[in-house]
């Protein structure tokens, strides 16, 4: 009877396949280690199955998950009780080359407010207007954060035309 009070495994598997990587990647670039990222994934799925609104479509659901993940990670960072020592995880094992490992460090080092914006633009391929809707901030704020984040990552300006 446990399924009566929780998600059905099939539903869970569908959602997990659909969104786990998205949530995990956003969590990892915010939190910078596997343990906290896994915890964030778990918390976001709990929210999805317990507190989510009725979604109009899958894009609505995805946008909600992005926002919830980003906010949850910020809350984790915000927590006064969070450990002040970052777990010295050997992140190099996740990356195929030293260059990618260095890039990952740059991404993780970005201030929190730039991370999600940069990720949505450069990885998920959202346009500025879409990011503005997802994150509930103005388009000009998105552009400014993209600009600042890009400067900090020393990113080339090739994608400007898509903004």
């Amino acid at each position: 009877m446990s399924f009566v009070f929780g998600p059905i495994k099939q539903d869970f598997n569908e959602k997990y396949d659909q969104y786990c990587k998205l949530i995990y990647k956003i969590a990892f670039i915010h939190l910078g280690n596997k343990a906290d990222s896994e915890e964030a994934v778990q918390e976001v799925f709990i929210k999805l199955f317990s507190k989510s609104p009725v979604f109009s479509d899958s894009e609505h659901e995805k946008a909600w998950l992005i926002r919830v993940t980003s906010n949850h990670c910020k809350n984790m960072l915000r927590s006064f009780w969070r450990k002040r020592v970052t777990q010295p995880e050997d992140m190099s094992v996740y990356f195929g080359s030293h260059k990618e490992f260095e890039n990952a460090q740059l991404i993780i080092n970005l201030p929190a407010k730039y991370k999600t914006i940069i990720h949505l633009f450069y990885y998920e391929g959202y346009a500025v207007k879409e990011i503005s809707n997802i994150m509930k901030i103005t388009e000009s704020a998105v552009k400014m954060r993209l600009k600042r984040g890009r400067e900090m990552l020393k990113m080339e300006l090739e994608a400007d035309f898509n903004e």
């Binding site: 915890e39 507190k51 020592v85």
Partner: protein, 375 residues
């Protein structure tokens, strides 16, 4: 880095295969959190409604502590999903750097322990100078620690965000202009951003140029009314010109009493208005603030903070987060200059924690009196 490299890097950030089962199990463990039940058919509802009613009392019994489940989840769930880090957590809790905000940038356990041991709690606490994580060898596997905090150097001292999220704050134009002090300089690239490049920079930052930073391109100003030794402001890039982030230097100093901290942010007779919220509201960003009267009782409470004793809270456990919802609250003080100061107060621990993670032991009677003010 270009877009392709960004994608290639992030492509490699993937969850373990085992995460699916961990998350599923976690959902099962949180079964009482599921008011939104998968009742797909009316028939199913009718069959199960009796069970729901009978179990309702059981579910309700868990509601009071639900908000604390949120608070402690980061501690509790970590044990569920990441047992492989348990050993490290144990080391940290013995260390313990978590008590001290100004150790927060020290990612290196050896340094953290060294700093911890240098403190003398009988004389208050000595907050060691913020240090860069130790430079490591160029071997890939050893250079994995990251300076995760935004910071800049001014007069040989590291200034760190007043809060950990680097949230920009805004205030009215007039209030902003009233606190914006002298322009000091603009932050520039911090050569130590990657460890391999740091060998020519002393770990304590003493030979780092002013305004070296990992938040390059931001303008630094003094804050009128505050000692620049402790507090400076970074004026941000927000759409309005009145957004800023406060940066502070509370390291390399001795805190012998609450006066050394609260006195230097000028709390006494300086609060314009005050609110409090529950941990549930705070962690969930529900913004359920309740007003506190600024009266003689409140000022008495503020004055009492000056005689609190700083201490190292090295014995935190999940037990700290249990109890009724009013045992731990968050207060937000808006000062007369519009600057906000946020604190946590624990009734059970007779403790007030600052936004940047210092702990001060309060007098038991003062704590009781303060919680009376909330009623």
């Amino acid at each position: 880095m270009n877009k392709k490299e960004y994608k290639k890097t992030v492509d490699q950030i993937l969850p373990d295969d085992s995460l699916r089962e961990k998350v599923w199990q976690g959902l099962g463990n949180k079964s009482s959190f599921f008011p939104k039940i998968k009742f797909s058919t009316l028939a199913f509802v009718s069959i199960t409604i009796l069970s729901v009613v009978s179990l309702n009392a059981l579910l309700n019994s868990g509601i009071e502590n639900k908000q604390f489940d949120q608070v402690k989840s980061s501690k509790m769930e970590k044990k569920v999903v990441s047992n492989e880090f348990k050993g490290f957590e144990e080391k940290v809790s013995k260390g313990n750097a978590s008590a001290d905000a100004n150790l927060k940038g020290i990612n290196d356990q050896e340094n953290a322990n060294k700093a911890y041991s240098s403190m003398d709690q009988a004389q208050g606490i000595f907050v060691p100078k913020f240090q860069l994580p130790a430079a490591s060898s160029s071997k890939l596997g050893d250079s994995n620690k990251v300076l995760t905090l935004n910071s800049f150097v001014y007069n040989g001292k590291f200034y760190l965000p007043k809060n950990e999220l680097y949230l920009e704050e805004t205030m009215s134009n007039s209030a902003f202009e009233a606190i914006k002090g002298t322009y000091l300089g603009t932050t520039k690239e911090f050569r130590n951003r990657n460890f391999e490049e740091s060998t020519d920079i002393r770990e304590d930052g003493s030979n780092v140029e002013n305004f070296s930073s990992n938040i390059q391109g931001n303008k630094i100003y003094t804050v009128k009314g505050y000692d620049p030794f402790y507090r400076l402001m970074v004026v941000g890039e927000g759409q309005n010109n009145n957004s800023y982030s406060m940066y502070e230097c509370w390291n390399g100093i001795n805190l012998s009493s609450g006066k050394d901290y609260f006195g230097n942010i000028y709390l006494e007779n300086n609060v314009l208005y005050a609110t409090w919220e529950s941990t549930e509201s705070f962690m969930g960003r529900l913004n359920q603030h309740h007003n506190l009267n600024i009266d003689q009782n409140f000022e008495s409470f503020i004055s009492s903070l000056y005689s609190t004793k700083p201490y190292l809270d090295s014995n935190q456990s999940d037990e700290d987060f249990k109890g009724s919802r009013n045992q731990i609250i968050i207060i937000t003080l808006t000062m007369k200059n519009q600057v906000k100061e946020v604190f946590i107060i624990s009734k059970a621990k007779k403790m007030i924690a600052t936004e940047n993670g210092f702990y001060f032991k309060m007098d038991g009677k003062e704590v009781e009196r303060f919680f009376e003010l909330l009623k």
